[in-house]
């Protein structure tokens, strides 16, 4: 049976139409941001420059795509419709009369739906891993920069040790199927996921230690929430079965956190060493504040500008790392719709078909570009102050 095709113009219109929930959400958010931009602080200032608007637009676009993925994509990303194998963009699926907007891949899956669902994987793992890397880097970088001396020497040596590893070698060693039979990923997860809990406990303790009414509430919230997520992620023993992560996803998550936290550590350490010479730190020291209070409540808030910029860049970098993992077929399941895996599958067959390769590459590139534009604009705005 001959496959029916729709015209290129119809493909464009169709794709734009499939994204309707994203457009609605974008119009609402961007409109609201424009209206109230004076009151939104740093975020509002982003809307003063074209680069900032473009960055926010692209990032929000992919955020909403990830949220509304099931509405946008016409097909299941794993479903195979054998007649649609290697079809060109715009092919009509005979049974449902829905369109394979970007064609079918070699396993007869819809390239468009896979691209849309791929955004979900990236937008969950990349920001979360960056968040954990920030926690680890901040919790270790602050004392290293503040105390200096032996702690600094030891932690810096460890950080340089990890940084001296070429990322790709690290991933080949840490993200192999065999390693999941060993306790290493779980031990590393157990270690890394402790840091946010420690961080928030110390954060609240230093601030409210003389105000037990606030302190106990905040501490218990931290411990219950943190412990719950910790149990779910590390031991997969969440009593309510809500927090759950696949072993191979945990493995790549841990590897990505491990690879990017030394970078955060170095930045935080450098910033701390710079800021600790300021007058307000000396004032706090004279008041007799504890070292951790000074680190968390005096130094950290004043280091937030560069850290926010770095976090933006780092999410982009983590996205690239995830793509690299997918490209080498490490960690993620072979049928997973993430962009890296899709690029790997498609690039092997580039001589015969190019259409399955382009959507994931452009998606990945545009998302990272959006984050980089955002970071650039944030840096410019924070320099103006």
């Amino acid at each position: 049976m001959q496959t029916e095709y729709i015209s290129a113009f119809d493909v464009v219109i169709g794709v734009l139409w499939r994204f309707w929930p994203v457009w609605v959400a974008l119009i609402l958010v961007m409109g609201a941001s424009f209206t109230y931009k004076k009151r939104l602080g740093l975020y509002g200032q982003l809307f003063d420059s074209g680069v900032g608007i473009a960055g926010v637009f692209i990032c929000l676009f992919w955020l909403f795509t990830a949220i509304f993925a099931s509405t946008i994509s016409p097909f299941d990303p794993l479903a195979q419709v054998s007649v649609m194998k290697d079809t060109l963009p715009g092919a009509v699926e005979p049974a449902s009369k829905l369109v394979y907007y970007f064609g079918g891949d070699k396993l007869a899956r819809d390239v468009f739906s896979r691209m849309v669902y791929g955004s979900q994987i990236v937008l969950i793992i990349a920001p979360a891993a960056t968040g954990f890397a920030l926690m680890v880097g901040i919790t270790l970088g602050l004392p290293a920069g503040y105390y200096g001396g032996k702690i600094d020497t030891l932690l810096s040596f460890l950080a340089n040790l990890v940084l001296a590893f070429p990322v790709i070698l690290l991933f080949y060693l840490l993200v192999t199927p065999g390693i999941m039979d060993t306790p290493i990923p779980y031990a590393m997860a157990g270690l890394f996921f402790l840091f946010p809990i420690i961080f928030f406990c110390v954060l609240f303790w230093t601030r409210y230690k003389n105000r037990p009414d606030r302190l106990y509430i905040l501490l218990s919230i931290t411990l219950v929430l943190g412990g719950w997520i910790y149990a779910g992620l590390v031991f997969d023993k969440d009593p309510l079965h809500i927090v759950h992560i696949d072993p191979n996803q945990l493995n790549i998550f841990v590897a990505v956190v491990f690879a990017s936290s030394p970078g955060v550590f170095r930045i935080v350490r450098g910033l701390t060493m710079d800021i600790k010479t300021r007058d307000y730190v000396a004032a706090a020291q004279t008041r007799g504040e504890s070292p951790w209070y000074i680190m968390l409540w005096e130094i950290l808030p004043n280091a937030r500008g560069p850290l926010i910029v770095d976090a933006c860049l780092r999410i982009g970098y983590t996205t690239i790392l995830l793509g690299t993992l997918g490209y080498f077929g490490l960690g993620l399941a072979p049928e997973s719709p993430d962009w890296g895996t899709a690029i790997k599958d498609a690039s092997r067959l580039l001589r015969s078909f190019i259409h399955p390769a382009l959507p994931p590459t452009i998606a990945l590139m545009s998302f990272v570009l959006g984050l980089n534009l955002l970071a650039d604009s944030l840096r410019e705005q924070s320099m103006k102050d």
């Binding site: 680069v51 040596f157 340089n160 040790l161 940084l163 001296a164 590893f165 070429p166 990322v167 790709i168 070698l169 080949y172 060693l173 840490l174 192999t176 199927p177 065999g178 390693i179 039979d181 060993t182 290493i184 982009g316 690239i320 793509g323 690299t324 490209y327 080498f328 890296g340 690029i343 790997k344 498609a346 690039s347 580039l350 001589r351 190019i354 390769a357 382009l358 590459t361 990945l364 590139m365 990272v368 570009l369 984050l371 980089n372 534009l373 650039d376």
Partner: protein
């Protein structure tokens, strides 16, 4: 200065020791040894024979003993048949010792590649040569272009040229090798047919036709980053008092840029270019796999995919060495280039 370099080299050696120990531990995890045994024996070998293969080839010896042997501080022993007492080589395809002998990295013996059935040195060094060639062309393309872009953009901050070039460099840093490689292959190999989408034939001899795609793919990711650093450095230099003085003296803008600004603006990019090597190393792996170029990255992936212990250790030693040496060169070079910095 001398003691600074000596101390740094000491740190480098310590780091290399720690890192090889970590790699040694990871490649010798039980699942990885199983995988090695399965790939080295016939199909469907029963479990006890896999185990005896591992024992026979010395993989069941004490972990630190074997690390010491690899390093060359402990003697390597040949296989001794318990029945006859005869000794045979551990691996016949490379000149493993037939009598106990110190033969490790310190003696210049990198061991045996189980995947390629040869010595690690015979596999690794030609591959490094091939990658060196690739690196040379990448740097030859990347450094002039990125410096030019950075200087043009930073010359007049906020101008239209600056904005255009800045956005272009941001775009290039957002394009990892596996993305730009696919896009370039689609454009230049599939649509236009100008270039070859595979560099497999480049091992015999490089031509413009088969080598351009890997080179520009690798270069494009670094260009944006170096250009941005150059721009930032150039912008900073252009606001300095001595530039204003030179302008007020009546020198032309171009002469101020070339004679006064350029030299001072190029100190920072030098360190950045040096620190770019670790990133290039990852890029090399991606590009060599993508374009099937038989270099260091290709060897690393093969070694890692087959858990080829000695080859993988050799690869990590080389890559860690490159990373640390470039860091050292960047530090020392920075001190040389910038007279305001003095190392103690």
């Amino acid at each position: 200065m001398f003691s600074f370099i000596a101390r740094r080299i000491g740190t480098i050696l310590l780091t290399m020791l720690c890192l090889t120990l970590v790699v040694f531990f990871l490649v010798n995890l039980e699942p990885n040894l199983k995988k090695l045994a399965i790939s080295q024996t016939e199909m469907h070998t029963p479990a006890d024979q896999l185990e005896s293969w591992l024992v026979n080839h010395g993989y069941r010896q004490n972990f630190f003993l074997r690390y010491g042997q690899w390093l060359g501080v402990l003697p390597k022993h040949p296989i001794t048949d318990p029945a006859t007492g005869k000794t045979t080589q551990r691996f016949s395809f490379c000149n493993d010792p037939t009598e106990p002998k110190f033969s490790g990295v310190l003696q210049g013996d990198f061991g045996c590649s189980t995947k390629f059935k040869t010595t690690v040195a015979a596999k690794l060094f030609p591959a490094l040569g091939a990658t060196g060639l690739l690196m040379f062309w990448v740097l030859a393309v990347m450094v002039p272009i990125s410096l030019l872009i950075g200087i043009l953009a930073g010359m007049r901050e906020g101008s239209r040229t600056d904005r255009t070039l800045s956005v272009a460099s941001i775009a290039s840093t957002a394009t990892p090798e596996y993305v730009s490689g696919v896009i370039f292959t689609v454009i230049f190999a599939s649509w236009l047919g100008w270039l070859n989408g595979s560099a497999a034939s480049a091992s015999q001899g490089i031509t413009f036709y088969n080598f351009t795609l890997p080179v520009i793919t690798l270069a494009i990711y670094g260009i944006g980053y170096i250009a941005r650093m150059t721009r930032a450095s150039m912008v900073e230099v252009m606001t300095q008092q001595y530039i204003r003085t030179a302008r007020l003296k009546g020198l032309s803008f171009s002469s101020v840029v070339v004679k006064h600004a350029l030299r001072n603006a190029l100190i920072a990019p030098f360190t950045v270019i040096m620190l770019q090597f670790p990133w290039l190393l990852t890029g090399v792996v991606i590009v060599e796999v993508m374009f099937r170029y038989q270099g260091f990255g290709y060897t690393l992936v093969e070694a890692a995919g087959n858990n080829d212990i000695d080859l993988l250790l050799g690869c990590s030693l080389v890559s860690v060495f490159i990373v640390l040496i470039t860091q050292l060169i960047s530090d020392v070079g920075y001190a040389f280039l910038n007279p305001r910095i003095r190392v103690q």
